[in-house]
Amino acid sequence: MILEAKSVSKRFGGLKAVNEVSLQVQEGEIFGLIGPNGAGKTTFLNCVAGDYRPDGGSIIFQGKNITGFRPDIICREGIARTYQIVRFFPKMTVLENVMVGVVFGSKKKVKFPERTAREYLDYVEFPVAHHVLAENLNTIQLKQLELARALSTDCRLLLLDEVAAGLTPAELNKITALIRKIRDDGRTIIIVEHLMRLIMNICDRIFVLNFGEKLSEGTPKEIMSCEMVTKAYLGETYMH
């Protein structure tokens, strides 16, 4: 078990965005987190990554309690993430963007940060020259860049927040293969996604959130056949 959340809660004003959510993620799996809009998926990720401090509960990562740690510390502990709306350093080159992750993101001292950064860019098959300023990239390239930066922190656990939003099937196949490759190389992945096809395709296990609470949990097959989930989430008309 790489990550364990024990009844994690987060409130905004009166709204319980995440309410007593407990889950366990096994080492080396692709763990899907789904649920209707506003179900608290991103909020939960933010709690794990340290962008939010949970109001209750605890988060254990590799046996260490990391609840309420700062995001940069959590990053160095080995959890990296991408954002729903891509975040990057617009006035830096592609290479420098990734170097930030290489230099600061890991506990290990990297001897040749530039070379390491290039390796990660090649790993995600980044299509643009490395000295281009990041502000000149398009959405899909920025997503790849962000992925490279997240990986470059030498993370054990990768949190992906809607990586597929806005991608076409062709690009989707590419990113699916990439996610699989990342997992096969020994990293654990939690993925938040709306696109059911992707989720059903690559996840080992799926966790369904609804109104901040756990609705169901299981393999894709189990989730597909769970009537409660289909009703609450997929809608009647989806399964034609």
Binding site: N37, N138, T139, I140, G166, L167, Y238
Partner: protein, 235 residues
């Protein structure tokens, strides 16, 4: 109704749209499809005067509208529901809708429009006094479409109306579009959700790397192998 001829658009040094020509007739639902980064949103934003065309002309209802400021296009009967929704978060649903009718001076017309969108989206009537910023993704999208209808547009342009919505909300949005279509509003829709879009559209254009590579009726495109492979992911 809307005609684009040989349009070029650039971001800085980078040309994004290359000689695009297309035509939309009154009462049609036309889809613009294409991979991410093909220039669909850029094309729409240029039509709406949010970006500048470097070459080519755009005519609407027989008059040239190339590079006119956005607010003048709204007055001429265009309406654009953007990908980002662009709602006014600190205003109520009601105020958002009233602003949708900013170009309408006639009080009675505004009230009629309000009634119309409330019958279209009863949910909005219930939440009239809620702040737009506190609504869920699906409700926001409904509000954005409703607001876009408030000034009685001749043509409604929708940019990725299903993006970021859960499947149930996606269905609701497409149902609305079907209903609008019978209300005789001309609709241009840009979508990733190709399957569903082609079900409701009359015709479609396919954009690739900023150029139009295919055009035809929905039925034609749905049976076109290239489209099926590239965009429907059926391999």
């Amino acid at each position: 109704m809307l005609e684009i001829r040989q349009l070029d658009v650039s971001y800085g040094y980078l040309q994004v749209i290359w000689g695009v020509s297309l035509k939309i007739n009154e009462g049609e639902v036309v889809a613009i499809l294409g991979t991410n980064g093909a220039g669909k949103t850029t094309l729409l934003k240029t039509v709406m005067g949010l970006l500048t065309a470097s070459q080519g002309t755009i005519t609407f209802l027989g008059e040239e509208i190339t590079n006119l400021p956005t607010f003048k296009l709204i007055k001429r009967g265009l309406s654009f529901v953007s990908e980002e929704r662009n709602l006014f978060p600190a205003m109520t649903v009601f105020e958002n809708l009233i602003l949708g009718a900013y170009t309408v001076r006639d009080k009675k017309k505004i009230n009629d429009a309000l009634e119309y969108v409330f019958t279209l989206f009863p949910r909005l009537a219930e939440r009239k006094n809620q702040l737009a910023g506190t609504m869920s993704g699906g409700e926001r999208q409904m509000l954005a479409i409703a607001r876009g209808l408030m000034h009685g547009p001749r043509m409604l342009i929708l940019d990725e109306p299903s993006m970021g919505l859960s499947p149930m909300n996606v269905e609701a949005v497409f149902e609305t579009i079907t209903r609008l279509r019978s209300g005789q509003t001309t609709i241009v829709i840009v979508e990733q959700n190709v399957n569903t879009t082609l079900r409701i559209a009359d015709r479609a254009y396919v954009l690739e790397q900023g150029r139009i590579v295919l055009e035809g009726t929905s039925a034609e495109l749905r049976s076109n192998d290239q489209v099926r492979e590239m965009y429907l992911g059926i391999c």
